[in-house]
Assembly symmetry: C2
Homo-oligomer: 335 residues x 2
């Protein structure tokens, strides 16, 4: 069993080393490496995120994006920022079932982690945004989140004179750089730095056989053999694609498209940093990894999973906590 799994891992490692050598994979310049990232069963987290051609990353833009990510004045109340629900102290989430936003209203879904979100094309649980830029437009304006109309967001940021040099540096040559489009571009550029390479699983995939426990290696095998890797594969342990998941009441992508085919269709979430991002599932209904495994086993792969198998899968999934981004809190301009 164990030798067999090593051979399979060896093979996939080889495939992945080859994929990793494709130009553009590690340089963070290719726009759509997702095809590469999700091929094959498992892959290491790249040390750079892909960067879209229309929003190149510069240190000035990343710095501005960090400021805006932490900017509570982008909310109607003045106290909610991107960081409130995508808290970098807490694995890029808020660790509550569904987020609390403006007026303490609850959102309908569990806040997905911002960590490694840069490796996905589709954003949000229902995949309704096609980029980080498009994603960032949503929560700022959503009435139950930051509740700030985009015209007002621009007005507020323009009203804080201290932002002007930062926008000029981030978007050089633009006559009127403080726009909603540039606000979300800067936030997305910062988010592309929020990646967590080098977790024990990746160390193992790179050849350090002692990086994860024998139980975790066994769990990887169970995870594959039960069919979990049909969706949870690649560097993100996710295809990043939309899949039917008939759990709870939420109609998923159907609410966006109105297409009956999209009922209860959700984007496959990443399992990287899983121990940091409880509770789980789109509705936050699974408090622990164990509960999530049970629900997935029943609803999604229709397989029995015994206690030893469950413990092994948990050990495997606990090997996904990578190097967390080291973020110095930005000092925001006063006025």
């Amino acid at each position: 069993m164990k030798h067999g799994s090593f051979a399979i891992i060896g093979m996939s490692l080889l495939i992945w080393v080859m994929a990793a050598c494709t130009p553009g994979f590690f340089e963070g310049t290719s726009t759509t490496p997702l095809e590469q990232v999700v091929k094959g069963p498992l892959a290491t987290v790249p040390d750079k995120a892909p960067v879209p051609a229309d929003n190149p990353m510069t240190p000035a833009k990343v710095e501005l994006g960090k400021m805006l990510y932490f900017e509570p004045r982008l909310s109607e109340s003045g106290i909610i920022s991107c960081h409130t629900c995508h808290n970098l102290s807490l694995g890029g989430t808020d660790r509550i079932p569904t987020s609390l936003g403006h007026d303490f209203q609850t959102g309908g879904r569990n806040a997905p982690t911002v960590l490694n979100a840069a490796f996905f094309n589709l954003q949000f649980w229902d995949g309704r945004a096609a980029s980080l830029e498009e994603q960032a437009e949503g929560p700022i304006q959503a009435g139950v989140e930051m509740a700030m109309p985009k015209e007002l967001a621009v007005e507020v940021i323009k009203g804080i004179k201290g932002y002007s040099p930062y926008f000029q540096a981030a978007f050089p040559g633009e006559e009127d750089p403080i726009t909603f489009e540039n606000i979300v571009k800067a936030i997305a550029a910062f988010e592309r730095t929020l990646i967590t390479p080098n977790d024990p699983l990746d160390q193992y995939l790179r050849g350090d056989e002692n990086a994860i426990s024998a139980q975790a290696i066994e769990g990887m095998d169970v995870f594959r053999l039960k069919g979990c890797m049909r969706c949870h594969k690649g560097a993100m342990l996710s295809t990043g694609e939309l899949t039917k998941f008939e759990h709870g009441q939420d109609l998923g992508a159907f609410k966006v498209t109105g297409d009956p085919e999209d009922k209860m269709v959700f984007r496959v979430p990443t399992l990287r940093n899983l121990p940091l991002t409880a509770p789980y599932l789109h509705d936050g209904s699974a408090a622990t990894i164990e509960e999530a495994i049970h629900i997935m086993a029943e609803v999604q792969v229709d397989k029995e999973i015994n206690l030893a198998e469950e413990a092994a899968i948990v050990a495997f999934l606990e090997s996904t906590v990578g190097d967390q981004p080291k973020i110095v809190i930005p000092i925001l301009p006063a006025d």
Copy 2:
């Protein structure tokens, strides 16, 4: 005029250099240097805060305190931490008139800055806490703030197993170190690092005549001659003491003591980092430094202040933004 003010500043500098040479002043080991800090008209911000004998600072305790300062699970909702209202991106405040807390309830007073709070003995606008430790007990439990009973706070932190080694390191030798007392001790130890030395005013007080503008120097004179320095003096530009301030409806310290003498009595706030901490006054009713000056001139010193004088005082007070603490966001234990 200007020569006169230089002579006065020179005198006070000399007094302060002498005060600063008192043993214990800069070492951060003395328990009550406040008497020194508030003597004389002006003084530079010490580069270390005083440390009480019963809560010595260690790197392990400061690190734990930073974690707890950023810990939203210390609130009933799971999304409010000390940092929500005492935001280090925003001068240690929330920049709204009165804070929003649990269930978006509004507190009655403007959040005082945490920056340099370590130099005060009395904490809160009404001075009801005698130390940072005592202060930290309040907002965690207050129903309109974090709304977390202290027994539950301890239970929550104990439930997060990853905290255990941090408490052991911060409180070595204690059999059961996760207590509410130790939670607030650690937070207070972290807060003693949140000091902002070296602002332009201090550079000027140390002898760099070009560190602040001629207008700011003039403003310092106006500020003194109008009587503002009766309360706003010393390193904090505050005596740190309680003073009658008959503005608004809030009865101040009376609400704590019931003593008619304490009606509308408030602690004199620091003016350090003033440009970062708008809006002003205990009720946040002054949106700008100019508005605050007008109210203080009328209510407190009963003096006319013309536009040139006001502009000069503003220039003086704008020289109070010191080096902001460089804080790397803590990664909090998952469970």
